[in-house]
Amino acid sequence: MIHTLEADGIQLDFGLRRILSDVYLKCETRKITGLLGRNGQGKSCLMNIMLGTLNSSSNSVRFDGKVIRNAGKRSDLLLYLPQFNFIPKSLKVKQVLDDFQLPYPDFENRFPEFRERHDFKVSHLSGGQWRTVEIYIIAKTPSLFAMLDEPFTHLNPIQIEKIKDFLLEEKANKGFLITDHMYEHLLDVSDNVYLLKDGRTHLTKTIQDLDDLGYVRL
């Protein structure tokens, strides 16, 4: 069964400045939805509104057509990878996977560079490895949807390719909403792409659309 997560009619103001004014976005399970936008356009704010951690003057977040508040409190429904590192520094890689009830051998097989690193504290990993652990737990933990805010940050090109393959595999199990500035990688993996511009979302299909909307220059 296909499930949907929609954000509709979202308005967000910071003082006199309107950040989001007419947002519609739809995610489906077994699909990757990309969200692009320049800095300060409100991508992370939109994710936080969907999660329920940021209040907006008007919003309707719907799961399978039913309005849901504080979706972030339901980890079986929605998981969130923030753009910063969120795993407590003092934890070891094995502890993190145990917390999320994910077997270490599966992780090791998927990312062989973590062989014999189960006893490492996450703060002793490189930035790319730390991010890989975070992406893995969010993508692999059972839930219907996951939102990834700048997942490719800190990753080197080889790691990015691995993560893209991993996300394409995992989309069979959940729906993803991903935002990142590396638009080419995002376009590679996404089934739908929205561009957030001037507080509105625009559904785009090709890189030419992004050019027409002024996000890239071809």
């Binding site: 980890s75 590192n85 969120f86 795993i87 407590p88 737990i137």
Partner: protein
């Protein structure tokens, strides 16, 4: 069980400061001797306010980590309420023991230094 483990882990991060505040209450009671009933109310509010402050400061300085607990299904409110309730019960036990039988100075010192050494050991582990 997993939730309990996560809450315990969060509590480990705030235990020492809260425990030192509890011991400072016991120390104050010992100092006041027979006039201890005059300061019980003050100690109560001292403990309650410090619990709120410690939680607020912890959440503020470790706000990124809140997403870790949230993704595991444990909200900030759950973390705050359970750890504060447990710590308050611990405070109550110490206060009652001091009121009813009095904690001898050597026991007080053993508890204080014991906790500090265990904490130091765990921190360096």
């Amino acid at each position: 069980m997993r939730k309990l483990r996560l809450i315990t882990r969060f509590y480990n991060g705030v235990f020492l400061i809260n425990f030192l505040i509890t011991l400072s209450c016991v120390y104050s009671m010992r100092h006041f001797g027979d006039d201890v009933y005059k300061i019980i109310g003050l100690l109560f509010w001292y403990k309650v306010i410090s619990l709120i402050l410690v939680f607020y400061i912890t959440v503020y300085y470790r706000k990124n980590e809140q997403y870790y607990y949230q993704n595991l299904g444990v909200s900030k409110l759950q973390l705050g309420l359970t750890t504060s309730a447990f710590d308050f019960m611990l405070w109550l036990v110490f206060i009652l023991v001091q009121l009813l039988i009095g904690i001898p100075a050597y026991v007080f010192n053993i508890v204080l230094w014991g906790v500090l050494l265990i904490y130091l050991y765990l921190y360096n582990k």
